[in-house]
Amino acid sequence: MNENTFFDYLNLFWFTILPYVALFTFFIATIQRYRGEAFTYSSLSSQFLENKVHFWAMVPFHYGILTVLFGHLIGFLCPAELLAWNSEPIRLYIFEVTGFIAAIFTLVGLFNIIIRRTSNARIKMVTTTADWVVIAIIVFQVITGVYTAVFHSWGSSWFASSMAPYLWSIVQFSPEIAYVTPLPIMVKLHIISAFVIVTLFPFTRLVHVLVVPNPYLWRKPQVVRWYWNRKKIRTTSFKIDRK
């Protein structure tokens, strides 16, 4: 096998096979988990155990990551409109700088998440291996994203013209990997780790994204007191005894 063929196969694996493995796993496993273990659909919040660093970890992380994800979603759903917006340099710079601020915000949040989970004894007790895997892959994803934003700008424009057609070709079961195979290595790693996150999604606490308790924003406050073993309920193997 010559060098070109080897890289062709690698590209085929990462950008054609992996996306379908990720999407198939995502849909089947999330539905299966919801049907079988609906009560495990939770962020497994540890806010009751530690609330100070939690603020500087969770607030920047969530505001940052949601803004960045929203930017990617706009590029995917409305590429032509995004290119039209970016046609004025000042608007392009505003969009890019906003996304970059959000990315730095996410990194600050992640840094504090790691500090909190390694320095607080109570939080250490409720941190599982799956949590560390999730943190590691998200750190990798955000760092490759920040690198891309700085060294391979302007992502919002080339995402709309390269990544959006590629992603739509995946959705339409007609993968056109020619859009992504010439991209720089850091951008490719960013794409691959995104598919890895989608694959891991149903097996980790990331599932809480699907059950965001939006009614909390407008419902009346209520007091909740638990009378069961807190440590036990935070393990993924916990099941409610239905006898």
């Binding site: 920047p60 601020i101 391979h152 020619a178």
Partner: protein, 286 residues
Amino acid sequence: MRHFKLESLASKLNWRFAGISSVFALFLCTSLLAQVPTEYYKQNCVSCHTIGGGRLTGPDLKDLSKRQDREWLVNWLMDPEGILKSGDPYAVKMQKESRGAVMTRSPGMTKSLAIALLDLIDEESKLEKSQFAGSQISDRPLLQEDIDEGLALFMGSTKLKNGGPSCVSCHVVNSLDGLSGGRLGLNLTRAYARLEGRKGLSAWLISPPSKMMNPIYKKYPIDEEEILPLVAFLKNETEKDAPENTSAMINFLLFGIGGAVLLLVLFDLIWNKRFRAVREPMVKGN
């Protein structure tokens, strides 16, 4: 019940089979399309070669078969880099004439496609004027209006007619101020010189051979009327040869970090009365 389950399984398998078949059918269609030599030539060869229009980056291919035998040419198309590495004297001579530019193996090249392409070149060579004689870009002098129009097209303030992304999405030229241009692709300040002037640059813009640009501009080609202004703008950039704007990236970084710090301060102020703890203040109070 068992029969029903089996039937349902069979139906599911059929759907899967249909799905897999569709994907393979699409792949097959794509590869068959790539085999049409005229289309293939347009997408992969025109930016460096004409047939009877003179040299671009690569040699004029008119009467190619009279210069080299068919077997050598097929092997060359299949693996140009390999032949160059082997030290073949004709390949080395061609590379020297192309000022060091190396031809790479075109995507999806097969022996049958190489033969079909050579047949096409032979047929086109017989014509008085081949369809691949090169772009019909005007030789008129370039004006300031052309440069201004080219700048607007480069920056995207004038949209490309066929909907392609503007150059600034991925490219930068040194004269841009502010946060400057994109850095996914090459710095185009000296592109006019690199592609050896109006003809070479025009051919590149008509059908960009770069792996990154090719799939995009194959769908949304740059209109012929837009080529000349872009050439004028890039020629002007080469002539100005302004020093690189090194502060753009640092400014971008500073904007990001500064913005994030400001936002953190703002969040602290907004949630100043946030719930911090229950037990700890009570213990401290005692």
